[in-house]
Symmetry: C2
Subunit: 339 residues, 2 copies
């Protein structure tokens, strides 16, 4: 590798390293002459300052870390996109890490971000408060939670209030005559998994729907577990007539499994999914979803993180969720059906 340092630039420009540094960092205490010579030299040599050396002295890296549990989940891909764009506006580069829904990989990335001395971290965490997330808090590294939180770890967060959306979905399905709703839950090691599960149980209870434990299957927020859950639920003696799925990757798995069983969503079994993902609206029939705003979430997280970096203590934000009814759950249950 060819390495050009500030010394090379200084030599070519015929000024000291100190002056070169000042010009390059926009320090006004420089002469017009020095400025033009340094810029010319830097351009000629295609000089790229070593960010590591720079950060070592100035303790600012102008980079933030974003750790998502699963980049292949369209919700988090969207989130990565909005965070990145928002961060860019404020001069931060985003280092994106993918925990792959695994605690060990999350810890590994977190250690990496700490070691790289990013200016701040936005994380959609999984697991309990053990491991590297402790180090982040202990070292007082600016950090905010996004989408998910960890109980007992006191960081500002921007999350979705799943309760309203789930309640609307349960009410909606109950109004259509469903009394046995199957729930494909997220992992209970995540705050969203736990909250949505609790909301479902509460809403179903309030409506007097069946709380048969067999109607609830726990997945891991990834597609395969959605398929498995459907096979389990639809094989019950008294199968559910409607399904509520806690995220879109599990919904994709669930819908695939339903089709492979020769059944049709909307008519044979109603289905509502969390996450308003493009393709869910394109399916036939289009899928009812519980929507929340990815764009707001990303933007707010970046703003909150900037506040923390600047020494502030922002309030946590809770964003609303709401039901969008589409044909996958629009038909009242057939009173003539045996179920």
């Amino acid at each position: 590798m060819v390495t050009i340092t500030i010394k090379d630039v200084a030599a070519l420009a015929g000024v000291s390293v100190a002056t070169t540094s000042r010009v390059l960092s926009g320090n006004p205490a420089t002469s017009a002459d020095a400025r033009s010579r340094v810029h010319a030299a830097a351009a000629e040599l295609d000089y790229h300052p070593n960010a590591q050396a720079r950060a070592l002295r100035s303790t600012r890296t102008h980079a933030i870390g974003l750790l998502v549990p699963d980049v292949r989940n369209p919700f988090f891909a969207d989130l990565a996109h909005t965070v990145e764009q928002a961060a860019l506006v404020h001069g931060f580069a985003t280092l994106l890490g993918n925990a792959n829904e695994r605690k060990d990989q999350q810890d590994r990335y977190l250690d990496n971000l700490i070691a790289r001395r990013v200016d701040g971290i936005i994380v959609a965490p999984l697991g309990d408060g053990s491991g590297s997330i402790r180090s982040v808090v202990g070292r007082e590294i600016p950090a905010v939670f996004i989408d998910r939180t960890i109980e007992g770890i006191d960081l500002p967060s921007v999350t979705t209030d799943s309760d309203t959306g789930i309640r609307e979905a349960v009410d909606h399905l109950a109004a259509l005559g469903h009394t046995r709703i199957g729930y494909i839950a997220g992992p209970q090691s995540t705050s969203t998994g736990r909250e949505r599960y609790a909301s479902f149980v509460r809403a179903a209870g309030d409506r007097g729907l069946s709380l048969d434990p067999a109607l609830i299957v726990f997945g891991d927020f990834q597609a395969e577990s959605g398929s498995t859950a459907v096979r389990t639920l639809l094989a019950l003696n008294e199968p559910p007539t409607a399904l509520l799925v806690a995220d879109s990757p599990m919904a994709i798995g669930a819908i695939g499994a339903i089709q492979r069983l020769g059944l049709r969503i909307g008519t044979d079994v109603a289905l509502v999914s969390f996450d308003d993902i493009d393709w869910l609206a394109l399916l036939d029939p289009p899928v009812s979803v519980i929507a929340h705003s990815v764009a707001d979430m990303g933007r707010i997280a970046v703003d909150m993180l900037r506040t923390v970096i600047d020494g502030g203590a922002p309030e946590s934000v809770r964003l609303p969720s709401r039901l969008i009814v589409r044909a996958s759950s629009a038909t009242p249950i057939d009173p003539g059906r045996s179920r």
Copy 2:
């Protein structure tokens, strides 16, 4: 922020900084006693070595940069996932950047990766060979192209041979009786956009199909442009009876637009999309696709990059593509139709 340095660890362990460094980096020239004391001290202080300082001396960061044009494109999300997992196996952390299909953002991330002195870069590039990609080559930073290439920039690459898949798709549609195939092309500023376009024109010519220029619309590989293209194509006096779409985000846009026009894919208009994405198989009817292996591509790119980092000069690899026929293009064209 709380900052623990190697000095603190050395002081607590009662040894020199040099010895501490040796223990921490696994240098065998250390006594058992020193090792246990240093490890204990490091654990007690929750010491995380400063990666910047370390890299400044050792010129290895154990990080690679991955630059994708669009994280929201499921193909690149999958690619990011496989690259990341493959890199992790070899001890590299992946810094993922998203160019958002924009040259300026690509340059910005590239500069950032150069400044961070990553050990190597994997990039699915866009644009011509101007800008920061020149700096990467000029500085001889280990780098490989993935999925896309840039003409005139001599880097090893792993790409898809789109030609076979596209030819299969055109042959297949021709065999069903289609003579006017609409082609929704990718941007001609990308190698994949250009190659697939050229393949289509060649294959259509070979089959004696219509080469009416109005049948070809150029999109930007993102969803919105797929919708626009469909509205243009289906408004023609002689609209196409089949559509071939150069990537999955444009396909999602196209399919949505077709539905909004009250038409059905498979019956009213046949459709084949590049990229074998989960949800395309779930649509009704399921969508025929041209598949290529994301998993192979990611793994090979990481292997190639490691070879370059170790001073080697790997051969470029071209992966096959092939047609998967599903119901969106399974019905022979109705000979009674006026078109």
